[in-house]
Symmetry: C2
Subunit: 140 residues, 2 copies
């Protein structure tokens, strides 16, 4: 199912409504390769017609998170960035401190690590939520 359809059906399931604002916000996220801040979404939406309020962007991002259609990336700079997930496999992120590039890695790559932590510490880490800061090859 396309993510637009999934959005619509998740909305309807909860008695919520599909508005043009919500469609446009999702479509901006859909068109972005790299993670964007709420501010950037706000700006992009405005490029394609009458602006949508920033507060509406935040409210929609909340919904999309709840539905699992986007994931949140935290580079530790107090600017949350949002990225469309849609129907991709679960993954986590690497974010280069120098150039800012974000790489998605399949969650399976961290499976050994996660189970090691779980068996030794009894703690189940949610690695799909994590963004690892570090440096990419190009920046070293």
């Amino acid at each position: 199912m396309s993510c637009e359809n999934r959005f619509t059906s998740e909305l309807h399931r909860r008695g919520l409504r599909l508005t043009p604002q919500r469609e446009r916000i999702l479509s901006v996220l859909h068109g972005m390769r790299s993670p964007v801040t709420a501010e950037e979404i706000h700006r992009r939406v405005a490029e394609s017609g009458p602006g949508v309020e920033l507060s509406t962007v935040y409210r929609t991002l909340d919904l999309l998170q709840t539905f699992g259609l986007i994931s949140v990336i935290d580079r530790g700079d107090r600017h949350y960035r949002y990225k469309h997930v849609g129907t991709e496999r679960p993954h986590f992120h690497l974010a280069c401190r120098i150039c800012g590039k974000v790489i998605g890695i399949d969650l399976a790559e961290a499976a050994d690590f996660a189970s090691r932590i779980e068996s030794s510490k009894g703690f189940r880490p949610d690695i799909a939520q994590v963004t690892f800061p570090g440096t990419c090859r190009g920046c070293r």
Copy 2:
């Protein structure tokens, strides 16, 4: 060397000064088991005498970070928390979403994972900076 001495010598090395405010802030951090927010440090410092300004707390936390005497924990709730590191071995953190408990794990536990990411993606993750959200045994 005790961390107070290290603080003093790092300050002197840069021509900076040891003030009572800085001593009291470090001492609060020193006495805390779990990571604290700037706000909490501010409150604790006030308990032991005339208050220190919140802006001074932030400025001192910056210094302590620069000197590597504290590490920053980000639970993703927009409240940075600071934890005394001192002479401990390098480690990363697990933070339970339910009860908020933070566990420190020796960096060696993540060595295999880190080298796997580095050799397959050319990205060197800085795991000592990461706090993994998740759930602890007690909360499941």
